[in-house]
Amino acid sequence: MARIAPRVLRSYLLGGQVPARGCLCRRTATPARSAVLRRYHATQAIQPTAESAVPSAAIPFRKQLKDEAKQRKAEGGEKISKVDNQTLDDWELTVGIEIHAQLNTPRKLFSSAASTINDAPNTHVALFDVAMPGSQPTFQKETLIPALRAALALNCNIQKTSRFDRKHYFHWDQPSGYQITQFYEPFAKDGHITLYAHDGIAKEDGEQITIGIKQVQMEQDTAKTISQPGDIHLLDFNRVGLPLIEIITLPQIHHPSTAAALVRKVQIILESVDACVLGMQSGGLRADVNVSVRNREKDSLTTKAMENIGEGGHENSQVNGVDQEEESSPTETEGEEDRFGSYAGITGLGQRTEIKNLSSFKAVEDAIIAERDRQIRVLEFGGVIAGETRGWTIGSTETRRLRGKEGEVDYRYMPDPDLGPVIIGQDLINHLELNLGILPDAEISTLVEEYGLTPKDALSLVSLNEGGRHEYFRDVVDQLLLLPLDKDQDVAGKLCITWVLHEMGGLTHEDADEENPLRITRDGDCIIKAPELAVLIYYVQKNKITGKSAKKILAELFACGLRGEVRKTEELIDEAGLWFIPLSAAEYEELARSVLDMTVVEQILAGKGGKINFLVGQMMRKDGNGKVDPQEAMEALRKVIEEFRK
């Protein structure tokens, strides 16, 4: 069975945190810390608004701020949290996201130079990569495989024919003066991605939400710039020409945390199908967000009006169509879209701005909140949002203007005359679809539905030991079901998860290796053999040994495993003499007497019957072998205490 890399799933478990080596690598905060940070940033994002807003009762946002401030005071000065800042009453936020991910391929997109990350600068550069005059691109077919996997995982329609286009702009990190991308005919279109509550979407979005993906396209990466003092920029062309995919979503996101959840989920999916490069120092995955707001009441009227204009006044301005003609002239469409505030078939949107180059989930969420608030502020002052490109620095409170429409580069898209169309055969698509493996969502839902796990446990399980823990868990359940326990799989699963996840997780030993004390491999091999654990669980379940004894045996199995000894569970129980043999009534009485404390007895006799539990506890503690049954113990105690009443 295809297994998901643990680091992929760990991100689920840790609520959006990604390992330091992950795509969005700069996110290093622990979950606990990040909650603090979030609050901190969210507050920062709000504060300037409060300061700059002019006092006016007519501004609902200000009113809202005041209310929120009051509420904060009421809650003991607690600051507004990001969770509460997902939705505003009067304004609707709309976000579309473009995600750039570096494909996991051995070669560059158009040259056979190797794709490496950490090699010495300028050591993997082909003639074409530095745009040497006379050199030509050679499309590396292999780059299609991870790109197709990604597109399939995002439920896209793979286009039989796709082409490469040149996007022109001058920058020193772009040797040829243009980037080869897919503008007119991308290789994948019309996909979607489903986000669930456990993905961290805003609670306003309910249990799940589906976001459409407009297209996925392949393109080249740029060179790495190393800036030096004195305005000198050193260039490393190792990265130039590496294959990227750009994933463009529809503007169907209305909450900042859903946007962050989407980026996170896209990353998880790309990793689980082995499409994306991890371990990048930077830029393994980058997101650009398009943000617009509209007044919920006012703009819905305007929308209708605009739609009327669109139908009546302009025969050709069917802005929301996706017919062939429009495809062939996207610029026109773009222009139209801006005029009518629509994008990819969604009309009536406010003027959007683009925030470029966000490199972490947190940045996505914070930047969207900051930009949303900025736009609302401008609109409430009666201003107009300019279509512009903005930037965001981590830790800042405001997006900053990078360039306006007038400074916008006309990319002068042109089909690349050197590169022929890419024809993708259905057989390749079928093959990749079959071998795509199980996506994280499917795996978790199996665990929850068929093995009776809680989503949290399921997430933990799949994220440990590169999937090995999950494999081990399945083995243990299978073994347990072979024993005459007579339980269903979901019950067996519940029984096993406690042991596999919690009890085994607590095992320590001085000889154990810190990273992976149980030495669980990807295939689910462990120093505590699955059948032995299953037998142990079975005996516990059948009351052949007590839970406490079982924990001891588990520790013993662990210690043996570390020494490399193979021992049977039964043997160990025999040796330790831990088979559960009920104590005789006399033994109980003896034990009860030994723990008697006269003060407690008096209290009990005085009517505080609950105190008896304390003595039961004492009895259980006293018995080192876990043979004491609490019920029996209590009976014995009662008997002894009653004697004192006389």
Binding site: S111, S112, A113, A114, A120, P121, N122, T123, H124, V125, A126, L127, V130, A131, M132, P133, G134, S135, Q136, P137, T138, F139, R166, H168, F170, H171, W172, P175, S176, G177, Y178, I226, Q228, G230, D231, I232, H233, L234, L235, D236, F237, Q324, S328, S329, T331, E332, E334, G335, D410, Y411, R412, Y413, M414, P417, D418, L419, G420
Partner: protein, 716 residues
């Protein structure tokens, strides 16, 4: 050390650094890999430690820009030497001895090169009575002794002994890269550029022991029709007191062939850049089908139109060199693959065998196609020029005469030569058929839109960072990145076309220009597919609507007009113009020279220009006659050119005899009637809908007043 020196050594270092990197990288496609391990004795100033300092850098600081720097255009041999040594450093152990001999020689070359360049710098058009013309070569190898000995020294008997190209002197247009001579594209921005690799076609020439004896002058990046827009000065042909244009953009190559400086020359043909100078300079110029000869290493002007062309003194030489040049090259993504070539060969075989009065029906029994027949006879040493079989085949040809080519700009003498040629052909037994290529009038505008768009895109790589000259100013000076480097490096014509290309691709104009031009291109291709009897092997057969056809075209049957094997028309509508008149003319006026060459370029078809000698002693001595064939019909085109060449013999006297004979034997025929009718269409009258369009300034015939069939079925 002055700032300038350091800058130049940076460039040297840059190239050196790159080469070192490329050495370590194993790419089966890169010729650099075939170069063996790096020699340890790298000159110290070329050392490059990638870990410490990447070799490429860029200044944006204002302080660095204020440092006074001497004129970097003042050439010093150091960058060139650095390039040479760098390549040598990576030479193989086996070839080491040869490389060492070349070291010494190259130093001598460089010295002579410097002299040559300084002379080239003289941009004044003055004829000095030079027998080989002026400004013909940008880099010229002054070799001692003969080419044979020279090559023998270098190659020591490697390579094919049977190849016709063995020991032939080949001049190469300066936009085809060579690893031992600079490749400047006749541009200021690449004036010192030493390419680290050989073009695919140059590799081929070296492998058959040809001797590359220089890089010829041209219009900057191939943009021009008279070889006047060169950083190294106008190409001046040796004849006629140097008064007449050599044609362009491969003017240097044409003059080098004409003045016997080389056996054949390579040019590049984008919209007629080989055929036009061939016509003006009186040599044979052949543009093969698109994708037949490798473009790896050809500095692109417009990738979708560029082809490597051959200039020679006879069609036979063209064929002899063409057969060893047409090879698949996996590094050129537009090169026809081996499997495509096989498929096309099969289609051609079928087409020949099927056709009733086809070209090879007679040879069917022998199991040989016409291609093979021709090659056997032309390529074997003892072939008789008047071989009966070929002659018989030739007589079966149906020759098309495009009525749309009878334009008002057609000079009288050219028209007369055209008529004569057709008469002679008819007298030989060929069938002359008037044909219609209705989209010809749009072709020129479409060509200048597409070519300019692709050129603007291709030329955006020249920023001076990795190669080429760089402005003394900051890269960001003037507020736009690289504006100074590019502004100083490019010539006027190149800038004009970059502006034009950028405009037609801009979001506001793209749909009205670039997209439309692509549709026109498709229509032009369909025009040709309709008139040729052989189907286009690259496209599915199409149904053609009779209503598209010109009324004057006579229908052969109810199925439509007859189809033809080849098209014969002039190469240019005029004779080689005087430099004097060019000075007066607007830059766009020379576009009209390309009117007959551009359609076949747009359609990717093979075409050859052969020179007809004029009887007049005054003015240019040659008129170019062009033969166009269907895609992949290269050999038949050359073979037909060979026959016509023999018939006309470059000789005015014989012409006259033929003409008289023809007049006696041939009465009034339909094509002749059509020829006599005055102007059919005026190319230059079409203007854009928008009077304020900047295109009006730049292009005479854009966009398309007459509605183009802008239907859905026309894709691009």
């Amino acid at each position: 050390m002055s700032a300038a020196v350091s800058k130049q050594s940076e460039q040297g270092e840059l190239v050196a650094g790159l080469t070192q990197e490329l050495d370590t990288w194993t790419d089966p496609c890169s010729d650099l890999n075939q170069r063996p391990p790096t020699d340890k004795k790298r000159p110290s100033h070329l050392k490059f430690s990638p870990g410490i300092l990447p070799p490429l850098f860029l200044h944006c600081s204002s302080s660095s820009g204020q440092q006074p720097r001497p004129d970097t255009r003042e050439l010093s041999p150091s960058p060139l030497l650095a390039g040479q040594q760098m390549l040598r450093a990576s030479a193989s152990r086996a070839a080491k001895a040869q490389w060492t001999t070349r070291v010494r020689r190259t130093a001598a070359y460089n010295a002579s090169l410097e002299v040559a360049r300084r002379t080239l710098r003289d941009k004044d058009v003055k004829w000095r009575g030079d027998k080989i013309g002026q400004n013909v070569f940008i880099s010229h190898r002054k070799y001692q002794g003969d080419a044979e000995a020279e090559v023998a020294l270098e190659k020591e008997g490697l390579g094919s002994r049977n190849d016709w190209l063995r020991w032939k002197k080949v001049a190469i247009k300066d936009n085809i890269v060579t690893s031992d001579l600079p490749t400047t594209c006749a541009s200021g921005i690449l004036q010192t550029h030493q390419s680290p690799f050989d073009a695919g076609i140059v590799e081929k020439l070296r492998s058959v022991d040809s001797f590359i004896n220089g890089k010829t002058n041209m219009d900057e990046f191939g943009m021009g029709s008279h070889s006047t827009y060169s950083f190294f000065g106008t190409v001046i042909p040796p004849h006629n007191l140097g008064m007449y244009s050599a044609g362009g953009s491969s003017g240097g190559s044409a003059v080098a062939v004409e003045s016997a400086e080389c056996d054949i020359a390579l040019g590049t043909d984008t919209g007629g850049s080989v055929r036009l100078p061939a016509a003006y300079s009186g040599v044979v110029g052949f543009k093969p089908s698109y994708g037949i000869i490798s473009r790896w290493g050809v500095v692109p002007y417009a990738n979708s139109l560029d082809t490597v062309g051959i200039l020679a003194r006879s069609s036979k030489q063209v064929l002899q060199s063409f057969v060893s040049m047409r090879k698949t090259d996996s590094r050129d993504p537009t090169s026809l693959t081996e499997s495509s070539r096989e498929r096309i060969w099969g289609l051609r075989w079928d087409a020949y065998n099927k056709s009733r009065d086809g070209f090879s029906s007679k040879t069917e029994d022998q199991g040989s196609t016409f291609d093979r027949l021709i090659m056997e006879h032309l390529l074997s040493a003892d072939a008789q020029p008047s071989d009966q079989n070929i002659r018989k085949e030739f007589r079966n040809l149906r020759i098309g005469v495009p009525t749309e080519y009878n334009i008002s700009e057609l000079e009288h003498s050219v028209k007369r030569a055209w008529t004569r040629t057709l008469r002679v052909l008819q007298q030989q037994g060929c069938t002359i058929v008037p044909i219609s290529l209705p989209n010809t009038e749009h072709a020129l505008g479409a060509y200048y839109t597409i070519a300019a768009a692709e050129a603007a895109s291709n030329l955006s790589k020249y920023d001076g960072v990795r190669y080429g000259t760089r402005s003394d100013h900051d890269d960001g000076a003037g507020g736009v990145l690289y504006s100074k480097s590019r502004g100083e490096g490019f010539g006027d014509e190149v800038k004009r076309r970059i502006l034009l290309g950028s405009y037609v691709l801009s979001s506001a104009a793209r749909d009205n220009y670039f997209i439309k031009a692509q549709k026109v291109r498709r229509l032009v291709q369909r025009d040709f597919d309709r008139v040729f009897s052989m189907p286009n092997p690259l496209r599915d057969p199409e149904q053609f609507d009779l209503s598209d056809m010109d009324e004057s075209i006579e229908l052969d049957s109810k199925l439509g007009p007859s189809q033809v094997d080849l098209i014969v028309c002039p190469t240019a509508p005029n004779l080689a113009p005087k430099f004097e008149s060019l000075k007066k003319a607007a830059p766009v006026d020379s576009f009209i020279n390309d009117v007959f060459t551009v359609p076949s370029s747009l359609a990717g078809l093979p075409a050859i220009s052969i020179p007809l000698k004029r009887r007049d002693k005054e003015g240019p001595q040659h008129i170019g006659m062009q033969i166009i064939g269907q895609f992949s019909d290269d050999v038949r085109v050359i073979a037909a050119a060979h026959e016509i060449e023999k018939l006309l013999k470059f000789d005015g006297r014989k012409w006259k005899e033929y003409e008289k004979k023809a007049e006696r034997t041939i009465g009034e025929s339909q094509w002749l009637r059509l020829m006599k009718t005055p102007v059919i269409r005026n190319i230059e009258t079409e203007y854009g809908d928008n009077p304020s369009s900047p295109m009006r300034e730049v292009l005479p015939s854009l966009p398309y007043k007459k509605p183009i069939r802008d239907s859905e079925d026309v894709k691009f």
